[in-house]
């Protein structure tokens, strides 16, 4: 399933850009008219005269060997260009995922277990923050923590690990904000639901220590919906990272994808799209594997309905 869906996805990415208007030889030359000899050389080198499926096959073969083609704008290997930017995006998404899992699940568990003022506050705050898109969160965070308070830098990457953590904090929070709220709300709801179940009430009335009931009976059962929503939201960050990278002028894959889309640097667009789609599919697969670990009733390979 994974391979099939990646294969079809790669085909769609290739086909979409193949069909895009414009002559590849003309864009290679930067629009200058070329002598017929050069056109013939270019056609041969990039297989431009061969049928569509043959071109797809050459492209796929190259991709599988790690060769994503050459950027028309800067005349470098797309793989090299991607490799130099992938850690910014990966770091950003990982940092944001960490925030979501620790704070989102933590907040949801605490407010789910203890109705009261904290719970009400969480509900209201998360209702608002779930509706704040990443790029609006970005400008608000820059305004508050970079311009007014001067705690964090507003733009750009850092130089070493520690300065990168400082540079990535605001972007990661902006990226995490909406998902954190959604994860917290779903966690809270599923903790409540499990807490009201009869076997939990029975366990409590039998005098089993609360700590044990929470761990064995509430958290264990609530883990499935919590994993689902965390997985879905974290996977969605991979695409949204582009917006955050642009807002904070980070040198990542998403920002580069947007720039290449504007410049019609199609090899780069294909390469980055392929990387992002693969990452998205793999994260979703990991979530499915996690289900099987958490819930012995789930058998791997059967399709979740």
């Amino acid at each position: 399933m994974l391979v099939a869906s990646l294969l079809v996805a790669s085909f769609l990415i290739f086909a979409a850009l193949y069909l895009s208007p414009g002559n590849p030889a003309a864009s290679l030359s930067g629009g200058r008219p070329l002598p017929p000899g050069s056109i013939r050389i270019l056609d041969a080198r990039y297989h431009l005269n061969e049928p569509f499926f043959a071109q797809y096959w050459y492209w796929l073969d190259n991709v599988l060997h790690g060769n994503l083609g050459i950027s028309i704008a800067v005349r470098e290997n797309v793989s090299t260009l991607i490799a130099s930017r992938i850690w910014t995006t990966a770091g950003l998404v990982l940092y944001a995922s960490l925030i979501i899992v620790v704070l989102g699940v933590g907040l949801g568990v605490v407010s789910g277990l203890r109705p009261g003022r904290l719970d009400t506050t969480t509900l209201v705050v998360t209702a608002v923050s779930a509706a704040v898109p990443a790029f609006i969160a970005a400008i608000v965070l820059i305004l508050l923590f970079a311009v007014k308070l001067r705690w964090f830098p507003a733009l750009g990457n850092g130089t070493d690990f520690l300065s990168n953590v400082r540079h990535f904090t605001l972007p990661a929070v902006a990226l995490a904000a909406a998902s954190l709220a959604i994860v917290a709300r779903v966690t809270r709801a599923s903790i409540r639901e499990e807490g009201d179940r009869e076997h939990v009430q029975t366990a409590v009335s039998r005098g089993i220590p609360a700590r044990y009931v929470i761990r064995r009976h509430i958290l264990r059962n609530a883990a499935i919906p919590i994993t689902t929503i965390s997985g879905i939201t974290i996977a969605s960050l991979i695409a949204v990272a582009a917006v955050v990278e642009v807002a904070f002028s980070l040198n990542g894959l998403g920002a580069y994808l947007v720039q290449s889309a504007e410049n019609k640097d199609l090899a780069v667009v294909q390469g980055i799209s392929l990387v992002l789609v693969t990452a998205f599919v793999v994260v979703n697969l990991l979530v499915d594997v996690l289900y099987a670990v958490l819930d012995p009733r789930v058998v791997l390979g059967s399709r979740a309905q």
Binding site: M1, S5, P21, V128, I136, I139, A239, V240, A242
Partner: protein, 290 residues
């Protein structure tokens, strides 16, 4: 809401729509009022704008609120309030188009898959599974790379990207409906598949469709604004809330945050209203199902 009600049997349907809305409680009604106001702005915003929204005057760049210019001027010295009013149009119409296309196609695919089952269901479901691998924003950026930046390309891309999410939920509902005794009874009476689907099955899942459409509107609004923020959607100088944030972003660093923040607040308020109403409608649809 009431705009979607066809004229035939208008009174009973309209009163039913009111009943549904009233049942969403004060939060739902407040949200509906905000949404109605936003729709009103989308229709008449450009006419209400007190100053020309696209007329730059660089000597007034970043000037704060003065007199009748309640929100001051933007980076090119254009009236921010006028641009907000005019910008409602693309900010609302884009998501509306996405929701219409996505919900229509999604409902059709879901009903066909649920009705025919077998091979049609397998083809539709696996097609949607593959589409699921493309996050909305990524598809919109790809569309911009292929067709050039613009609202239309982004809206089409998002309509396609949301299909799997829409169709999955509705397919489940349609499958449940398909196994109801009334469907079998109608089939025995010789009613055609088309008439059963159009006159009975789809109306029965309509509350879920409306709830999903509302929630989807929120997603579409955020994603389209994000694409415009990236410079691949609505193109400047056209006023649009997403565009206004990106073009006035430098103001945040230079100490003139109002133009960007004002546009951000507009987006967030509408999205919150849509989410709250959508959630309530969803709960109602689920509760009615029992």
């Amino acid at each position: 809401m009431s705009a979607a009600v066809p004229l035939s049997g208008a009174i009973s349907r309209r009163s039913r729509a009111w009943a549904v809305l009233r049942a969403t409680g004060p939060a739902g009604i407040t949200s509906a009022v905000i949404i109605a106001a936003a729709i009103f702005l989308a229709m008449f915003g450009p006419l209400l704008a007190p100053y020309p929204p696209n007329l730059p005057n660089l000597s007034l760049a970043w000037v704060g609120p003065v007199g009748s210019h309640l929100l001051g001027y933007d980076f090119e010295g254009r009236d921010v309030l006028s641009r907000l009013l005019a910008g409602a149009q693309t900010a609302m119409l884009g998501p509306l188009a996405v929701v219409l296309v996505s919900m229509t196609a999604g409902t059709l695919l879901a009903v066909i898959a649920a009705w025919r089952r077998g091979a049609s269901d397998v083809v539709i479901s696996s097609g949607l599974d593959i589409l699921f691998a493309f996050p909305g924003i990524l598809l919109a950026v790809l569309a911009a790379a292929v067709f050039g930046a613009g609202l239309l390309a982004a809206a089409i891309a998002l309509s396609i990207a949301y299909l799997p999410y829409v169709a999955r939920v509705l397919r489940g509902a349609a499958l449940r409906e398909r196994s109801q005794p009334y469907v079998a009874a109608l089939e025995v009476q010789g009613a055609s598949a088309r008439s059963i689907c159009l006159r009975h099955l789809i109306p029965n899942i309509a509350p879920l469709v409306v709830a999903q459409a509302t929630i989807l509107f929120g997603y579409a609004m955020v994603d389209l604004a994000a694409v415009s923020f990236l410079g691949l959607g609505v193109q400047p100088p056209t006023a649009n809330w997403g565009v206004m944030i990106s073009e006035n972003q430098t103001g945040i660093l230079q100490g003139y945050p109002l133009p960007a923040l004002a546009a951000g607040v507009c987006i967030v308020v509408v999205v919150i209203a849509v989410n709250v109403l959508g959630e309530r409608l969803f709960e109602q649809a689920q509760a009615a199902r029992g």
